[in-house]
Each structure stands twice: as C-alpha cells, then as structure tokens.
Symmetry: C2
Amino acid sequence: MSEKISVENIGALKVLTDKHFAKEQLGLSSMEVSVNRLPAGTGVPFVHTHKMNEELYVVVSGEGMFYADGEEFALQEGTLVRVAPAVERAIRAGKADLCYICIQAAENSLRQYTMTDGVISETKTAWMK
Amino acid sequence: MSEKISVENIGALKVLTDKHFAKEQLGLSSMEVSVNRLPAGTGVPFVHTHKMNEELYVVVSGEGMFYADGEEFALQEGTLVRVAPAVERAIRAGKADLCYICIQAAENSLRQYTMTDGVISETKTAWMK
C-alpha cells in the first residue's frame, strides 16, 4: 500500500482502554484524532484550551457530561460538540463508559469541501459494475 | 451557549439512516465531518478523489471493504484509514451494516497539536475538586 494510503486497526471500541492517538501512526497532515474510552464515573482530570486548533467531539457510545467555559451539558450517543480554540473544556463519563472521538484541526483552515473539493471519478469498483 | 461552542444531537448511531454532515450545523471551520451508516450489502455508488483535502475514515461498528487506488481491504470496528487527496476511494458494507465517521481537512494544514497546541488551564470542574 502506498504512502498515500495508511491503515491502522485499533480493535473493538468496547474493549478500548484509555486514549488512542492516530496522527503519527497514520501520517495525518491535517488533523490529530484520538479515539477515547472513559470508564463509567471517571473524567479527564484537567481543563484545557487550544492555541490554534478547533476541536470536534463525537460521542460513539455511552453517556457523560461536557464542561465548556463554566457550563455543563449532557452527552449521549450521537452528540457532536464543536469548541473554538480558546474555550475551556473537559469531559467525563456518566453511569456508563463514554466512548468518543476527538478531532483537532487548525481553525479556519478549510478552504473547500465535499462538492467543491471532491471529484467523482470514472473508475468503477467491482460492486459498481 | 456562545458561538464558540456548538452542539448537535443526531441520535443513536444504530438507527442512523444514510449520511449526516456536521459542518454547517456546527459552524466548523477546520473540517467537514460525516457520520454514516451503510446498510449491509450496500456501498457508496461512486469512486471519488479530492482536490485539497485529506480524509480519515473511522469505523465505529460493523464490517465492510475499502477501495483505494485499485486495491481493496477489509474494514472492521476500530479500523482507521487515511487517504491523501488524489487517492481514488470508495467504501461498502459487508454482511453487517457499516457505521463510520469520515473527516476531511486541508492536507498539510496542521501546524501544531496536542502538547504543542493544547494548554492546561488552572480551572477545575466540579468533578476535579
């Protein structure tokens, strides 16, 4: 497989322990991504901000709470949270383990996307023929 | 909640239908993100490339196949795939529904991250006191 494509298998998310960062292993150049599992009743032990990077949290399973600039709100499967760099943030699990993906990328860096950046190819895979 | 923070609830991923894009709703400026569910036995009906954006696919549940520049490889829960912009790509579900998150962001746009971009705050949430 070429350097244009990289693949990593981190295993079933329900047995994930702690936090898995993906940038270095995959050679990502546009984002850092972590796949995270916080055991029920536990939380990240610090509040943090960012200098340049926007963050997006995507809750994959479980429940918890998100702290952002002094407010707290509930998280459940399918909750997406965007925070600008300067926002003070932290996250914790509730009565169930909280599994979430966190992506950081440089604020205001996206120039074009989806229909303006994507190009449909003439190529067909076996399942399209 | 301020414009520095935005939240969306798309519901349980197991009942997600089709594809949900998040950028517009959340006001993301660094990435476009889709949360996707392909029913068992179905696939995206076209191959595509990108002009500027790197993509990362994170498989949340199920199984399937990834097509990249003429090669195919298996996907399972916990598979992460990075593809550079010019890679011809497509994805399909296998015998189970394939749930995955796809993130696109501008290649080579990340300047600093995690320990070089993140700043630990003095603030403590209720669960840290």
